[in-house]
Amino acid sequence: MADVGTVKLKRGLAQMLKGGVIMDVTTAEQAKIAEDAGACAVMALERVPADIRAEGGVARMADPLKVKEIMEAVTIPVMAKVRIGHFVEAQVLEALGIDFIDESEVLTPADERYHINKHLFKVPFVCGCRDLGEALRRIGEGAAMIRTKGEAGTGNVVEAVRHMRAVMDGIRQLQATPEEELMTVAKELGAPYELVLETRTLGRLPVVNFSAGGIATPADAALMMQLGADGNFVGSGIFKSKDPAKRARAIVEATTHYNDPDVIARVSEGIGEPMKGLDVRKLAEGELLQTRGW
């Protein structure tokens, strides 16, 4: 009586990724560089967020051929992104045997009202959030892992910090809230009551929560860990930098030893130019990716 696709198995894989770095890659060679640098998983993409931002157009799921090449290149888990609400892209990735699906605001949404019913899939999903309510809505839909959104493709950590603080503050406020007020809080958060209650009891999200969207340096990675992240997604920050292999190794070490400034100092030395980065305040409202998701 073996069971597959259970909540425990889906959340369990995310638990195994904790303390690690998940890196965006667009080719099998990049995937190998990421694995050699100590990535705990890779995200297979057509273009990294910085290029999606620069080139515009509709951003979709990657070519299955590319996804398969990356899956064959490494032994670590491989993730891939689908458009918000595009459950057929998710069916395709599940059929390919992908290990994790990211229903991501970085791609152009396919549905501006509804997300995918993630309970229907055997493969686990990760989804972005900007605050506690959004995190719990996604978990309610079946997400086995959460990542705070940040602002992808900017190399600017400010939004990642804002969203991680928002989630953590939300949890701290819940813990200070008496039980009789929780239904009203759930209504205000727009989140399922049972998950609000569970989060309050646990003192953390019921699933693993990584940081994402703007991490470019080892110090950024350690900052997000100290703010409460279980691990880091690094997108454009690695393969848009001068020396990706070196920077990838440094970010992995800084994520593991996030409480040790001596290590962070050492690994930050002479790793070449980081990606240039963007001032998020200068982006037009329509250029923000983080506002996608409902």
Partner: protein, 203 residues
């Protein structure tokens, strides 16, 4: 008794939680200096490639075998089992080579093939354990000195070789602490024999 949990990457807090509940004073181990303070070590689930690389970078690929050869008990779950194995197929070569076992990475399949099942462990008695296998390695062969404590569909999934213990599944993910209790008993036995120094003298 201080039990170390290798805290380079993986499901460290899950092991810590079980050890805490059993009163075993878990300590996170990230460096060779941390290792000096523990009487036994758990290598958690996670990505064996990631954990292995970080072990090498911080000298733990040498420090752990040195302590283990002096008698310190070590328990590896999933990725931890891969790191303990003498022979590994698929991906990175073996690292610690402490246990006479051959394992194959991800040989149960990818994440969609991950499964949970009831597992009889005669050494622990009834009822069966709920065993959670996540992108688990297959234990393909075990040497004559290796005691098979549990098997599933003819494949060993929980094995012991002297003071070393390994499982391809994750007892830390279920509310059943019997495997952790067994490991703590192994640490106590090692302390009684005066092995596993330098950590064990304090109690």
């Amino acid at each position: 008794m201080h039990v170390g949990v290798l805290a380079l990457q993986g499901d460290v807090i899950e092991h810590r939680r079980v050890l805490d509940a059993l009163g075993a004073h878990p300590l996170e181990v990230r460096t060779a200096a941390d290792l000096e303070r523990v009487d036994g070590l758990i290598i958690p689930g996670g990505e064996s490639t990631t954990i292995g690389k970080l072990m090498v970078k911080y000298g733990l690929d040498l420090a752990v075998p040195e302590r283990a050869r002096a008698g310190m008990p070590v328990y590896g779950t999933c990725a931890g089992m891969i790191l303990l194995a003498r022979t590994v197929r698929g991906g990175e070569p073996p690292l610690l080579r402490l246990m006479d076992i051959t394992v194959v990475r991800n040989a149960y399949g990818r994440q969609v093939d991950s499964f949970e099942a009831d597992l009889d462990v005669p050494a622990l008695g009834p009822p069966p354990m709920r065993a959670v296998f996540i992108r688990a390695p297959v234990l393909e062969a075990a040497g004559p000195g290796v005691e098979v404590l549990a098997s599933l569909d003819g494949r060993p999934v929980l094995v012991r070789e002297g003071h070393l213990l390994a499982s391809s599944f994750h007892p830390e993910l279920v509310p059943d602490d019997r495997v952790h209790r067994l490991f703590l008993e192994m640490i106590r036995a090692s302390a009684r024999r005066g092995e596993g120094l330098p950590g064990s003298r304090r109690e």
